[in-house]
Amino acid sequence: MPNAPKEYTRLPGKKKNFLIGYYSLWLGTDHLLYIFSRFGIEDYKRFYFKDIQAVITRKTATGKIQNLILFIFCIIFSLMALYWKGWSVFNWSMAGLMAILFVINWLRGPTCVSHLHTAVQTEKLHSLYRLKTAKKVMNRLRLLVEQAQGKLARENIGEMGVKAPTVEISPIRREMTHLSTGQEGMKVHKILFALLILDGLVTYLGLFYNQVTITLFGTIISMAACILVIIALVRQHGSNLKSSLCMITWAALGYLCINMFTGYIFYFVVIFRNPKMSQNQWELINAMSQISPWDSSMMMGIFIFSICSALIIGLPGLIISRRG
């Protein structure tokens, strides 16, 4: 008995969503099928070849930022393995893992973002995340769409311009679209990343100067950053901000949570060592600021982690948010 012909052919590219699910693209006889799959539930979107107006692919810096972060983490774990003897196996393993991920990411090539335009919608094709994949898919898709619609001559573009007849959107809706992508949404992000850089610098100062003012200043900056990261995450939810910026904001949340947690552990360690000071907060803070990271390899590791993480997250985040 002959096998039934395959209705859909899978196109290269698959992208995991941030927390759950993944995107994939399939080729049908007369349409493109875009699937978002999570926990056994699949959402389908069909784009008929005769309706596709344009596909825009833009190279992004996300791949480079990922490579930079992986490389820096590899260096951090290697340094920690060299100077922190107790955890050297773990640190070397993590350094090795970061190195492998770096090589894999580098080999996969630069990243991109692709948008498909029809008369009624513009859809971001998440599965076309790597430039090599996007080129392969587009070279294949272009032929099929041209079979359905015909080829567009260059002189026709000049005559008609690139203002396409689309479904008329009401002025209110147009204004709302503009607001959701506006620069106002990124102000909080810029302040957050600037604070993270400042936090990194203050922690660096704390390496050499054990003073209560530096400790207090660092604590205030951390608390302000915690508030700002929550505001930034709320603002970016449902907005049209770049995915790289959203990703770095989540990374900032992760770093701040770890920072707060280690801060609490340190606080309780100081209380256990100095039970008499537990009634007097000022003496406690003084005692905390007097402890030098040079006396303890664990403290030194935490300081290095804080400085590097704050700068790794803060610098690219500020650059991306300033680019707009």
Partner: protein, 186 residues
């Protein structure tokens, strides 16, 4: 209007259909713009339907005061220009379109599906991380496999391999627990 996805500047003619990355004149981002004739195709204006002038003419089922121009491919009702929905070279009435979507009679309108084979396989495999959970999840996976064996799976994959794998894994887990409890009793 198509524009650069970074800076929203309208895309220049020189970048279109070059099939390679070209810099945006405004923000210098590298772009590839594949544009097709549909971009310049005029969208036909919607019709509201002609008013019925003579009683001898057929009228629309949903708008008795409007003239029927076509028959629904699914139910045979007469439709005016306003009610006529063209889909995949068929003409449908709004009611058949809605039924086609909700009851999955029109495949091309289906926008979501629950794939019980994937759910059964996930429930069979994931709890193996905390092994003791499988005592609860193995029967659930078996139940889902048997109960939804005939339910349609993913529209892109028409095999039962996941159901079979879930059945085998869940069965092995149940057999394992049976032996475990038997050894405790004996």
């Amino acid at each position: 209007m198509i524009s650069c996805t970074q800076c929203n500047t309208p895309i220049d003619r020189g970048i279109i259909n070059r099939y390679e990355l070209m810099p945006c004149p405004s923000c210098k981002s590298l772009l590839r713009a594949d544009v097709f004739p549909a971009m310049f195709r005029k969208i036909p204006a919607g019709k509201s339907g002609e008013v019925l002038l003579e009683k001898s003419e057929a009228s629309c089922f949903y708008h008795p005061q409007k003239k029927a121009v076509i028959v629904c491919s699914m139910c045979g009702r007469f439709l005016c220009d306003l009610c006529d929905v063209e889909l995949n070279e068929n003409h449908l009435c709004p009611s058949c379109l809605e039924k086609g979507r909700t009851k999955r009679k029109i495949k091309s309108l289906e926008d979501q599906r629950t794939c019980y084979d994937k759910i059964a396989l996930l429930i069979a495999i994931v709890p193996m991380l905390g092994f003791w959970l499988t005592i609860l999840t193995a029967p659930i996976s078996l139940f889902i496999t048997i109960r939804y064996w005939k339910a349609p799976g993913s529209i892109v994959r028409k095999t039962k391999i996941r159901f079979i794998a879930a059945f085998v894994i869940a069965s092995l887990q149940i057999v394992g627990w049976t032996f475990f409890f038997a050894s405790l009793i004996l």
